[in-house]
């Protein structure tokens, strides 16, 4: 029960900071109709309801926020600043006995597509983690890089980069400009930085934007770009993960400007999610 008190204290601290920063809470259901084609389907507890509908237990807040806010977004002056909290549940295929319920708190800015919003959100995440006594290291990238590097062969480039096998890139040399191939090579070995992106026409716009963001939130961002995700999912721009002292991801997020459109209310959005359990597993001496 001491653990509960500590966890509640972390929760209160984060919620208070979010409140002071002008974010309003929304509450989301635990059960939702499942998107059968969802990327994360393997990790999500899904079952067939009595109506024959495929139902999922909450495993990712972000699409739920979009669905819930889409009617509001249409009618309201954006930007909206919202936060949410609650448990998500994941099936863990490979780790026996691992925990699978996680308490998360997340925040989003909806309706502001600017890099200022990106920086504001990253800055908030940084303060929030510092406020808990964690020294965050935030690794970021842009989710669209593979498709930018090779218009038309984006999927193949993404596979090679996400596989992180520098050797697999060789077959793609012809599909890429020399500059793009250089960027890809550095990405495939985990070494690429914003400076590398700037050298390449295809990624220069992305580089400019990432530089702006990094500039604004100096001090806890890492030079090397974050891993390329196997699937971009809903991310359409900035993508980041925050680490504590260890190698566990204590928070993550990014920009998803097309997600709201899927629910009929097109609006840019950027957000992060902190996983309280990972904070604990990462062994941080939470200052609470």
């Amino acid at each position: 029960m001491r653990e509960t008190a500590r966890r509640r204290s972390v929760e209160s601290r984060i919620v208070a900071l979010l409140g002071r920063s002008g974010f309003e809470e929304i509450v989301l259901p635990i059960l939702d109709y499942a998107d059968p084609a969802a990327v994360e389907a393997q990790d999500t507890y899904r079952f067939v309801d009595r109506d024959g509908e495929l139902v999922a237990i909450r495993s990712d807040f972000t699409p739920m926020v979009a669905r819930a806010l889409s009617p509001v977004v249409e009618k309201t002056r954006t930007p909206l600043r919202v936060f949410y909290r609650g448990d998500v549940i994941r099936r863990e295929a490979s780790r026996l006995g691992a925990n699978r319920e996680m308490f998360q708190i997340g925040a989003e800015i909806v309706g502001d597509g600017s890099s200022t919003a990106d920086a504001a959100l990253l800055g908030l995440l940084g303060s929030l983690l510092r406020d808990l006594g964690v020294t965050p290291r935030i690794v970021y990238t842009d989710a669209t890089i593979p498709e930018r590097l090779a218009a038309g062969s984006g999927a193949a480039v993404r596979d090679a980069l996400a596989g992180k096998r520098a050797g697999d890139l060789e077959g793609l040399q012809r599909a890429l400009s020399p500059e793009a191939f250089l960027v890809a090579s550095r990405l495939a070995s985990g070494q690429a930085t914003v400076a590398d992106l700037q050298q390449c026409a295809e990624t220069a716009p992305v580089a400019a934007r990432l530089a702006e963001i990094a500039c604004a939130v100096d001090g806890f961002c890492v030079a090397q770009l974050d891993d390329v995700d196997r699937r971009a999912g809903y991310y359409s721009g900035l993508r980041f993960r925050a680490y504590g002292a260890g190698s566990r991801v204590v928070a993550q997020g990014g920009r998803y400007d097309s997600l709201y459109g899927q629910f009929g209310a097109p609006a840019p959005a950027v957000g992060f999610t902190v996983t309280i359990d990972e904070l604990e597993w990462s062994g941080e001496a939470l200052g609470v």
């Binding site: 690794v139 992180k164 520098a166 050797g167 070995s189 985990g190 090397q224 891993d227 260890g246 190698s247």
Partner: protein
């Protein structure tokens, strides 16, 4: 920086490669002791079982290591694999006992393997049906002694296969050892990571031209 070296057949060549890359490595006397951890300069070398290298790197308990693609696939590793080694190349193959029937969607075949995960996903992709029997070693023996009709295992020269009257039915993947680099070091010591990759790349590149490790 902690680097994991697979004990066994790759150990010597891996260390020689790091030596060529200019890293201080344990010498033969060191290795003759039964110790598994050696600090030399800024590097802590750890000797672990080949199948455990990806595990140490995955969880951040080692910053880098040398691991075969077979182990990386079997463990679904998410580490970076920036450099392929010019040594230790082989293939992962489906091997058949003499007289065994081919795999089909209705076959009653059995497959012995140290790679149940890779084998399963390969079977699913091909639409073949077979019972997988995970073993820990001497996998070919399973087909020789009639435990299974097939084997999925690494093949170097293929001589053992032929000696035992087995046949290679199909190549599943080309395997090579790789330098693997974990995600943590990019955050905590990005300079070290960059240097490691560059030096290994050069060592491999020059060696590749001159001689095998």
């Amino acid at each position: 920086m902690r680097i994991a070296i697979p004990k066994g057949c790759l150990q010597e060549k891996a260390l020689r490669m790091f030596d060529a890359a200019g890293y201080p490595v344990p010498d033969e006397l060191d290795l003759a002791s039964r110790r598994l951890v050696f600090r030399r300069g800024a590097v802590e070398w750890i000797l672990v079982k080949d199948c455990d290298v990806p595990v140490y790197v995955e969880h951040g308990a080692a910053d880098a290591g040398i691991a075969g693609l077979d182990q990386l696939l079997e463990h679904d590793s998410t580490a970076y694999q920036p450099v392929d080694m010019p040594f230790g190349r082989c293939t992962l193959a489906l091997i058949t006992a003499a007289g065994a029937q081919g795999l089909t969607s209705a076959s009653t075949a059995t497959i012995a393997t140290k790679y149940p995960r890779i084998t399963r996903s390969w079977l699913e992709q091909r639409g073949h049906r077979a019972e997988i029997i995970p073993l820990g070693g001497s996998v070919e023996l399973a087909a020789v002694l009639g435990l299974t009709s097939h084997v999925v295992d690494l093949v170097e020269t293929g001589e053992t296969i032929r000696t035992h009257g087995l046949e290679i039915e199909e190549t599943i993947a080309a395997i090579s050892p790789r330098l693997i680099v974990g995600k943590d070091i990019y955050r905590t010591n990005p300079g070290g990571a960059r240097e490691l990759i560059e030096r290994v790349r050069q060592a491999v590149g020059s060696e590749e031209r001159v001689c095998a490790f």
